[in-house]
Structures are given as C-alpha cells and as structure tokens.
Symmetry: C2
Subunit: 226 residues, 2 copies
DNA sequence: CGTCCCCTTGAGCAGAATCAAGCCTAGTGG
DNA sequence: CCACTAGGCTTGATTCTGCTCAAGGGGACG
C-alpha cells in the first residue's frame, strides 16, 4: 500500500492517544463496553470473541500485529464482542470519536480503513465457511494454513515453522469443537505427518496435503492473508 | 434514520443505473465476477453464499428487501461470494465505480453506508456464534427468531406469522447441517409446539421458549434486526 | 514441594451424517 | 383431463464424528 501523505501523517499523529501494553490473558475489551477507543496491535497475539449466556465461547478472529480493533465502532455505542490478549500485548490507542471526522476530511485514509474492514469481513466469511460445512480435521488444517499465510504476509515469519501461542482451548473455541477433540485432531495431523507441534510452535510439514484437506484453493489463502 | 438532504438525494439519483428483476433460483452474482455493480433488494428474498471445491455450500446471509449487495466491493476487483434469488427478485442497480467518489464528496452518505456495512458484519458475527458452539435445534431457533426480528424491523410483518420462502436445503446450508437433519429438527420444534409450519409460512407459537432454546438475549435480537 | 494450568488418553454415548426409499404437490405435455 | 415428471419433503435404519465424563501426567512457578 502507498505511503501516507504529509497531511495524512499529521492527522494520524493527532488521532493517536497513547501506546500501552497488557499481560497475557487480560481482557482488553469486554462486550458491552462503551466504544470510545480504537486500537492497533503493535506486538503479540489477541483474539476477539463472544460468550453465550451458558458460558460457551466463540472466537471470532485472531488478532496479529498490525490488526485494528474496534474499527466497526463508529456504528454502535457499545462493543458487541470482547477482546483478550493471548500473549503479552502492546498496542496503540486512537480516539474513536474522531473517526467520523477522519472519514469526512481524509478520504484517502477513510478508504484505507474501509479496505481493512473489508479484509476483516472476508476473513469472517472464510471462517464461517470453514465452520459450517467442514469436519474438525478440515477446519484445523484450514486454520493452521490461515495463520501461516497471515504471518508470512506481514513478514513475521519466513519458513514453514511459526509460533502459535494459542492453547488447545483457544483453538477449540475458534473451530467450534471441544478441547478434547482438538487434542485428538492435532494428534491425527501429526501422525499423518502433516504438521509437527513442539512447545507452542508449529511446522507445516506437508502444505500441499494440508491444502487438499482444507479444501483451500490458492484464492482463499490469499484473501485471508491480508 | 434521518431523511436525505436535497444534495444527497440528487447524488443517489445520479448514482443509480437501473431497476431490474430476475426469477427465483437465478444466480445474480457468481463468485469471481468483476465487481462493477452495487445492488439493493427492492422486493423478494435472496442469499449470499460460498461453495467449497467439493460442492458443499455455506449460506452466509439472507438478503431481504432494503438490503445492499456488494457494499464491500470497493475493496477487491472480484466478488468473493455468490448471490442467488430465493424468490422472484426486484432490485436497483448502482454504479460501484463511483463509491469512492461518494465517500469523498458525500461524507453523510458514506457514514450511512458504513453503518449498514457494520450491521451486516454484526449479523455475520452472530451467525458465526450461532454455528460454532450451538446444537442444531438451537441454531434453528436462533435462525427463525432472527428472520422474524428482521422482517418486523422493516415493517414487512406484523404478528408472529411470517413467510419463509427457503427450502429445507437452504436452511441446511445456512445452519451448517444436512437436509435430512434439518427436516427432523423442524419436526421436533413442531412437536414441542414451539413453531408451526404450513406452506412456506412459519408461526412462532412460543417465542419465550424459543429464545431460551436459542440462548438469545434481547440484545442479540436487536443487533440482528437491522 | 505443592499447586495450577495445560495436555493426554480411554470408555461410552449421542447428535448428526449417510444411505435408501417412498410420498406429495405443482407444473407440463399429450 | 389425465398421466407423467421433477423438486421438495418425510421417514427409517445404520454408521460415525464428535461430545461427555473421568482420570492421570507433565511442566512452570511460587
């Protein structure tokens, strides 16, 4: 993407409020919180999720360095989801109240944010398409490929090995299966030598086979990467 | 929502290309189509969906009168999903190429579209939360309540009875279960006297109980209605 | 050294898929 | 006007994926 103009840079600087950090497992945003702020992840992993009234949890999206949090907050007065840090997290904070002003006076920046929101939305739709018709093994393959593609697209990772700080409970809640089953799925993938797991680190040992399993065409991998 | 200003009305009129219609089961948009156009549904039902390479289909969203189709198309050069008419459909067509111009010169309209996109996104997130952790019966209950709430919010329906032109195959693909199982789930709900089905028409006979089953708090019903 | 969190594994069960028919209704053509 | 057809609905029997319950293991940290 093209660099910002001088004017745009100036606006972004005035737009920003602070830089901050929090420890793993802390709740950055709770569903129902008033939406005053907008965040970007600077380092670490986080996730967006919703909780049903009986406690079951659905993880909507994994947030990586560079991702926005709360871009949709122009709409409603409250957050409709929660955000939890997976690792120690550092992030920038912006003034959401000025989002409308941004769209009005900085159409270039506004379009950028629209594009980012559209990528997020596409990722949601891929996720839905993954959870709806696919089996647990297929979902897991798609998930791992997706993480890998996103990390690579940001230059955070080079080869076929990457860090995966999620617990199996996180993965279960992301994929819509139980913790126990997640464990067995991972075991199966390892037995088939499709992936190797070691200390919160994943190696994709047979990407072609994984793609076949995930029914992921190259197109979807690209769409997810952004 | 407030009425359009004179200037905004003028722009919308110049923005619009045509009004058109198509018959039930026709494909309005196929995944991969170039994105030149933007649509609004005028009358009838449609759905947005994705197809996996082995033919399994996931319905992402149900489109009702007043809904936009292709709002996200500023981003990418191609549609990332397909759209099929469920009933005979009439719709307005707009020039997507001018979307960027709209955002730049009509910030009021731009914000409106952003809000609409945000509601769509929230609906997607509700859908994901519905499909991830919930059982088939719970999903169905949530789905029927959701349809009802959306139709009511638009004044398309008054009491607890509403038309539901979807086939059971549609519902199956929306909920992420099989056709056969959809049939059994509907039967169960009827036996428990929670809903009544008759000729593509649904009556919610016990909304409180349905909400309990769907684990839907009032908040989520509201969010979905938009 | 104990505790907490996470991972692992087994046994049994159930929700949902698959396979396989048969039915009903509306539309079509002879 | 009736026979035929096609699409959608219904139901049973069987299989299997994924859930639940239950227990034990291992590492990190105070």
């Amino acid at each position: 993407m093209a660099a910002l103009s001088a004017d745009e840079s100036l606006f972004m600087r005035s737009f920003k409020i602070a830089q901050d950090s929090c420890s793993a497992a802390s709740i950055l945003i709770a569903e129902g919180d008033p939406h005053g702020k907008l965040y970007t992840v600077y380092s670490g992993w986080a996730h967006r999720f919703k909780v049903l009234s009986d406690g079951r949890r659905q993880i909507l999206d994994i947030l990586l360095p560079g991702d926005f949090i709360g871009l949709d907050s122009i709409l409603s007065s409250e957050f409709t989801y929660s955000v939890e840090a997976i690792t120690t997290l550092t992030y920038d904070v912006y003034n959401a109240a000025r989002l409308a002003e941004l769209y009005a006076t900085q159409p270039g920046l506004g379009l950028r944010l629209l594009r980012i929101a559209a990528v997020e939305r596409q990722r949601l739709e891929m996720h839905l398409t993954s959870i709806g018709p696919r089996s647990a093994d297929e979902r897991m393959a798609a998930f791992l490929l997706n993480c890998h593609a996103r990390l690579r697209a940001r230059g955070l990772v080079d080869g076929n090995t990457f860090p995966l700080p999620l617990t199996q409970q996180h993965m279960a809640d992301y994929l819509g299966i139980t913790l126990v089953h997640t464990n067995r799925v991972l075991r199966r993938l390892q037995e088939r030598d499709l992936v190797a797991l070691k200390q919160r680190e994943v190696t994709l040992r047979n990407i072609e086979e994984l793609k076949l399993l995930a029914l992921a065409d190259d197109q979807s991998a690209g769409a997810l990467a952004g």
